[in-house]
């Protein structure tokens, strides 16, 4: 058997987590560097996966398969398709930035007992999340995926509840209360989804007799596995509910603003840019792949909910007074676009949705991490506490603006490509939905530019007069992300190349063909 590259890619951050956690309490800086080192190593391995992946080859590549729980037919099965490659790349890419941005977020405020080691814990938990997320993108066994889907909640719970944003209004005690409310809400919402999914996972096993994704898809395609319409629909709903909570889709979104508001900015990035992507990824892979008919049956409702998410999330973002909650609602709007693209079931919509997952990850990371630098400086998350930052910290303001412009999908930056693909893909199948979704481009401009105007322009707020501009470590975080947004905005081909074949597979899973243009002018 050849070198298990996929296992190694997922295992490296897990090993990193253990090593980081084992660094002695006093050696905080060592722990940080160890964590960064392991995250960079994972990035290298992800790069190797990307390089080894052949876009024209098999659907799942670099596959591994081992017996695991033989009694239940659960196998440790891994494989990567184009969508998985893109998302592993995103995850491995963002984690080093998350670590670098959160460099000081878990420094102990005052020296407590020598056994107190929050820094080690913080970075170990981040790497643990990375390991689980990467493995969940690789798992081709439904049960294995389920385990990871649930297990990643635990480190996330501690990251939200244990390491809150130090910039908060009111007393420390009150802040701790809100933080733990946010963490518990995050956990319970996701747990509820997970439990329903568990029922569906077991139901699927009862019907199919296996947990192997590729076996089930194949059996469904060649007709050896038939499902009653109602069974398929119930199972679909079980899976979809869990993914809709994680994604999050309106009206199951309310945990996200709490979680993102209370967590530190890097952890908020971890939530919205990385962990939530497991939800939309799983919709593509499991909902559409396993239950194509039920997916088509549910499409009108899902599209309607996605449209509500787009418009509602954007309007709520406009109404926020807290910078991080604003970005959280913006993300809800963006997840609406992703889900819309997935369920439009056209090549452009699906490719767009996959690119959207990657681009949203990068753009939100850029905006949110710079927002984090801003918030740390001023010690407040409230928009009203800023003003005129552009004058005192022009580089910070500039990077913030570019992150914002990416969020509003300015052409030339990566998110435009994906958003336009989603819009076109939706419009060609559902014109009215496409037009409604287009209103998102106006609303996004409102919340981004109002945020920029209130924080960065106008007379200098007294409290920010001495605010320093971005430091070297912060530039190392912001500049590469911005460069990547520009690069993928102009030259998204490296991504579309790996994504396109996977989209074709999904399109054939759901047995859909793109609507043909009225006039064949292009040919």
């Amino acid at each position: 058997m050849s070198f298990p590259l996929l296992t190694a890619t997922a295992a490296l951050p897990a090993i990193g987590a253990i090593v980081t956690a084992a660094v002695p309490a006093a050696q905080r800086t060592v722990a940080k560097w160890v964590a960064l080192f392991f995250s960079l190593g994972t990035l290298v391995l992800a790069g190797v996966v990307f390089a080894r992946f052949e876009p024209g080859g098999d659907r799942y590549q670099l596959t591994e398969s081992r017996a695991w729980i033989a009694d239940f037919g659960v196998r440790y099965e891994l494989g990567v398709d184009g969508i998985g490659v893109a998302l592993i790349g995103l995850t491995a890419l963002l984690i080093p930035f998350v670590i670098a941005a959160g460099w000081h977020d878990a420094d102990p405020l005052e020296t407590k007992s020598s056994r107190w080691r929050p820094t080690q814990g913080f970075f170990a938990l981040i790497l643990m999340v990375e390991a689980m997320v990467v493995l969940s993108f690789l798992a081709t066994d439904v049960f294995l995926f389920y385990i990871l889907f649930e297990a990643m909640l635990i480190p996330m719970y501690f990251l939200i509840g244990g390491f809150g944003d130090r910039a908060h209004a009111g007393s420390d005690e009150n802040a701790a209360k809100q933080r733990s409310y946010a963490a518990v809400k995050f956990l319970l919402y996701n747990l509820a989804g997970g439990l329903i999914m568990l029922a569906a996972v077991i139901g699927l096993y009862v019907v199919a007799g296996t947990f192997s994704l590729s076996e089930i898809v194949e059996a469904r395609a060649n007709g050896t596995l038939e499902m009653a319409t109602s069974t398929e629909r119930w199972l679909f709903l079980g899976f979809f509910f869990a993914f809709a909570i994680k994604a999050p889709l309106w009206p199951l979104h309310t945990w996200l603003p709490n979680a993102m508001g209370e967590a530190t900015a890097p952890v908020a990035v971890l939530i919205t840019a990385i962990v939530d992507k497991v939800g939309t990824f799983a919709m593509l892979r499991f909902c559409l792949g396993l239950f194509p008919e039920a997916s088509k049956w549910a499409t009108p409702v899902v599209i309607a909910l996605a449209l509500v998410s787009i418009v509602y999330g954007a309007l709520l973002a406009v109404g926020q007074r807290d910078i991080k909650r604003l970005i959280a609602y913006a993300s809800i709007s963006h997840f609406g676009f992703i889900i819309l693209g997935i369920f439009a079931m056209t090549s452009q919509g699906q490719s767009g949705a996959t690119l959207y997952m990657v681009n949203h990850g990068i753009s939100t990371a850029a905006l949110l991490l710079v927002a984090g630098f801003l918030i740390t400086r001023r010690g407040s998350r409230l928009i009203a506490d800023y003003g005129g930052v552009q004058k005192v910290a022009p580089v910070l303001a500039g990077t913030f603006l570019i992150g914002g412009l990416a969020t509003l999908s300015l052409p030339g930056l990566a998110p435009f490509v994906s958003e336009f693909l989603v819009l076109v893909g939706t419009f060609s199948a559902y014109p009215v939905a496409g037009i409604i979704a287009t209103s998102g481009i106006v609303l996004a401009a409102i919340y981004v530019l109002v945020l920029y105007q209130r924080t960065m322009t106008g007379p200098v707020n007294e409290a920010v007069r001495t605010m320093p501009d971005l430091k070297a470590r912060e530039l190392v975080v912001a500049v590469p992300l911005i460069a990547l947004l520009l690069f993928l905005g102009v030259f998204p081909k490296p991504l579309t190349e790996v994504v396109n074949p996977a989209v074709e597979h999904t399109m054939s899973d759901v047995q859909k063909k793109d609507p043909q243009p009225e006039v064949e002018a292009a040919k």
């Binding site: 490719s351 300015l410 819009l423 409102i446 030259f491 243009p517 002018a521 292009a522």
Partner: protein, 631 residues
Amino acid sequence: MENLIALLVAAPLLGAAVLLCGGRRLDRAGHWLGTVLAAASFVVGVVLFADMLGKGAEDRALHQHLFSWIPVEGFQADIAFQLDQLSMTFVLLITGVGTLIHIYSIGYMEHDERRRRFFGYLNLFLAAMLILVIADNYLLLYVGWEGVGLASYLLIGFWQHKPSAASAAKKAFLVNRVGDMGLSIAIMLMFTTFGTFAFGPVLESTGETSEGKLTAIGLMLLLAACGKSAQVPLQSWLGDAMEGPTPVSALIHAATMVTAGVYLIVRSGAIFNGAPDAQLVVAIVGAVTLIFGAIVGCAKDDIKKALAGSTMSQIGYMILAAGLGPIGYIFAIMHLVTHGFFKAGLFLGAGSVMHGMNDEVDMRKYGGLRKYMPVTFITFGLGYLAIIGFPGLSGFFSKDKIIEAAFAKGGTEGWILGSVALLGAAITAFYMTRVMLMTFFGEKRWQPDAEGHEPHPHESPKSMTIPMIVLAVGSVFAGGFFAIGDRFVNWLEPVTGYEHGHSPLSVATVTGATVVALVIGVGIAWAMYGRKPVPVLAPRGSLLTRAARRDLLQDDFNHVVLVRGGEHLTRSLVYVDHSLVDGVVNGTAASVGGLSGRLRKLQNGYARSYAVSMFGGAAVVIAATLLMRAV
């Protein structure tokens, strides 16, 4: 030769990148770098132009395919350029006027500590505007379209420590985004109709689809044009955009960017030709805006805002012409070019006046400036004569052609559009004479400011006056040069098509009527502002005047309905999200928890009961925990 096309964009793009990322080291030389790169782009444009002139009319279009941009199944978007006569006209206008304004800005922005950044933004604008006009497909055009919007946003808000500038910048971007929605939808419609959005295939196959589709696409393109070109009902941002430094107003908000809507419509001529209804709406929007802008221009005391009203009105002429179809396309572009000269010149003149008057913009505090700034007076005066259509000057030729074409549309529509265009000519003569008289004639009306500094009006430095002189020369001669021997018509006809319109009135009658309108307008203005002294404090004015000062109340309408309404909507949604959605979801979880026991008894399948009880348990935990936390 076609490999040079990308260089047009590359030069200013490089400038923008270097100037914006370069840091303070470049402060001393940055403006020179920006200017040289703008000029380099102009030189490349001239070389390409010379090459184009050497070829036959049908072989002039050049193509350059750089790379495949978004390769996705069934979807083809390329980074590819097309340089034909129409694009070439714009390239020369953009880089030519652009270079002059770079030179002007060296002097104008001399004392601004962020001058390097200003030149970076100007270069960024040039690059985006060039992409807009040389793109060979609508999606790449969209990149330029929003790129100029971004540059406009950054430059309007250049002095962003002023809240009014920051607000104006945001407003411009937002209103434009409404237009961009139109462009997005138009492109999506093209994709579903033609399977592509490249100019060639789309514009060649318009005959194969229904008129309804073409009308829809046309109206969406018009929406886009309304946003970018400040046409009613999306005109409200242009007046506020005058918060930007004056060279920006000259380049972006007069000569080039705001005319992009005209380019879009003329470029898409084949679509509009197949959609007469959409075409008529275009003409009506143009006619309404040309009167709307002119009325606003009459009432403003701020010299830049008066000129902004005028820009709106003049672009109204162009849109009107573009709405006339093949009898008007070429004249729309011709007026666009001559307007580029004289309006840029007028704005630079206004900037020169402000430069000498401590940045005062209120014309009621000017007066008699001709003695203090002779060069500004003469160049501004020539621009003035050009815009009012003084016989023999640029505006005379280009505007006259549009009025003729409007009558030639035929039928009642033709009479109405033609009369409106004539009326517009009279109002133009009125408000521009008003600006001229209030600024350069009469007695001096300026007073010491609050700190006791009295302005000392003086002529501007050479770096500013030379661009003004060059533009004045263009304002005088360009129109005649284009019109004589139908040079401009012959140049553009292979791209836009041309039909000679047959006006019910003879050419001489139309020209005569235009001159009469001009004389009436000038006469009334002279009676009001030349014969008697101008009061320093604005009189209360008639109802119309007061409304016109407030942009005919359209802004107030927007504010009450959209801004206030939007604020109420978002505020109530924030409440709904917190109380209702969150509450209902948490509550449902709780009640399902209570039901699970009964459900289990009903359906005792192993897997089901296992799942339901787990879910129920979880729901109870959720509910309990959330309740505990909430209390």
